[in-house]
Amino acid sequence: MAKRIDVSDLNVYYGAFKAVEGVSMTVEPRSVTAFIGPSGCGKSTFLRTLNRMHEVIPGGRVEGKVMLDDQDLYAPSMDPVMVRRTIGMVFQRPNPFPTMSIYDNVAAGLRLNGVRNKKTLDGIVEQSLKGANLWNEVKDRLSKPGAGLSGGQQQRLCIARAIAVQPQVLLMDEPCSALDPISTLAIEDLINELKSDYTIVIVTHNMQQAARVSDRTAFFNLKATGEPGRLIEIDETTKIFNNPNEQSTEDYISGRFG
């Protein structure tokens, strides 16, 4: 199920503005990779290039190479829709479809791609909600609107929705930033469980969270506002947090930054 991502020399643009420059890294399968760095350094932008979500923004453009195992995601023959089906994404703010019930939200990815069989859907919905640690809370009200859940539940619903299409990789952009500590813990536990099946990349501003959930950590930074963001270093999380190679990483992590 899980796959490795190899990025080489990636530049990302918004129109003429170069937001991210020269990123090369490997994201290991069946592990959690955390992206940390100051606001505006391009973590979200870079994350969205990994499933070709960047290009839905007008003017969004990417140079360089992203490989998923042996497939070039930016090859001309590659269909971005297929890429996104393989590499799922969870957003910062929970965004369940407001017109749909809990069940329909989880089934949305499959239904909208033509899966109609009720039995198949029932099975996958249950399995995904269990996978997202939400099943027990919602199993009696699957037909109720998804927007009626609490923020933390909605975020887990979104995770269930993302894993229902059985992606190889799961990208999460600050999935806990709108949540309380308990919901955050629930999602961190969930990430720990999911990593046995998926390759997970998570953007976070919370150092403790990065330290708790990730196996590897990438630190991004930018020289000044208006300059493109760069990858400073990526290494084992313990190494980054205890003995980073770069001074700026150390400064950022110890809070001696800017």
Binding site: V56, P58, V81, M82, R84, T99, N113, V165
Partner: protein, 324 residues
């Protein structure tokens, strides 16, 4: 002048907030002052509030008076006709202006048919245009279309009618007909639909589109199943407002669809009955009590029809709205 006044009052407001719990404990005296100010709101503010309230109620009644007056006139003068069964089943065949009796069914059916055909043409064009403008349109073409829609929405109905007349009758040599009038109404309805649908589509948060894309859903499926679905009730409301507008349009009918007192279900041949034209017919003999009463009855029927459409729209919108 008023800006100056508010500026002068700022320090007082600061005084009030200055006694909030975050500031050091106030002395007894200033505490009492603050209390007095709170229990005794500033007079200037109270007077402004009163003036604004009065202005609001006055303008409300000024706006309501003509509306209530119109409704009262139309209802009181026309209701008795609507209470007879033949009004809803008959037509005006062989009934002269000086005669009472007959019905309006021919005109009701005609107006509904014409509105239906108009909507059938205008709604898809309008919605697709709005989808293009909001979801796909970038650059010159989109700007040009948007500009054109603006112009179209400013076209007076009689100009739209004359345009269709020039194309339909003068250029193609076809006869005036219900369909020709419907085409003129299409021109009037399209900009209403485009603008209202556009607004509704813009209200759909981008996050929902991105959520669908991130599930590997193609863009067009996202638009049909997520964006249009989420905006559905708003779009329906816009369509009904557009329909309500064109059902009462008279200029295109005067020019393109001559009235008949008979039942007529053929939009392509011959005269065509509609409610506004029936009103117009009886207006000509307004001095006759029978014609005047019929005119009010027809007007009331038209109002009720529009009202009914609005109610239907609300019901649809209610059941299709975003679930909370």
């Amino acid at each position: 002048m008023s800006a100056l006044k508010t500026d002068q009052r700022v320090p007082e407001d600061e005084n009030m907030t200055g006694d909030s719990p975050t500031s050091p404990p106030p002395s007894n005296r200033s505490g009492n002052e603050a209390l007095r100010e709170m229990s005794n709101p500033h007079r200037g503010r109270a007077i402004k509030d009163l003036i604004a309230r009065i202005a609001m109620w006055v303008s409300f009644f000024v706006a309501m008076v003509p509306l209530a007056w119109i409704l009262w006139t139309v209802v009181s003068k026309g209701i008795h006709l609507l209470l007879s069964a033949t009004w809803w089943t008959g037509n005006q065949r062989n009934i002269n202006s000086s005669d009472v009796g007959g019905g309006a069914r021919h005109a009701i059916e005609g107006t509904l048919m014409m509105a239906g055909v108009t909507a059938l043409i205008a709604v898809p064009i309008g919605i697709l245009t709005a989808v293009y403008l909001v979801e796909y349109g970038r650059g010159g073409l989109a700007r040009a279309i948007s500009f054109m829609v603006d112009i179209l929405s400013g076209v007076p109905s009689i100009v739209a009618a004359l345009f269709i007349y020039a194309v339909w009758v003068t250029t193609f040599g076809l006869d005036r007909s219900g369909f020709a009038a419907a085409l003129a109404l299409v021109l009037l309805m399209i900009p209403v639909i485009v603008r209202s649908t556009e607004e509704m589509l813009k209200l759909v948060p981008n996050e929902l589109r991105e959520a669908a894309y991130a599930l590997g859903v193609p863009k067009w499926v996202t638009i049909v199943k997520i964006v249009l679905r989420t905006a559905f009730s708003g779009i329906v409301t816009g369509v009904l407002l557009g329909l309500a507008r064109i059902m009462g349009e008279t200029a295109p009918l005067l020019i393109l669809a001559p009235y008949t007192k008979n039942f007529q279900h053929d939009l392509f041949n011959g005269n065509f009955p509609t409610l506004p034209m029936m009103i117009n017919q009886d207006r000509g003999d307004f001095a006759l009590a029978s014609a005047a009463a019929r005119m009010w009855g027809t007007a009331l029927t038209l109002i009720l029809l529009v009202l009914l459409l609005n109610i239907i729209g609300r019901v649809i919108a209610h059941f299709g709205s975003v679930k909370k």
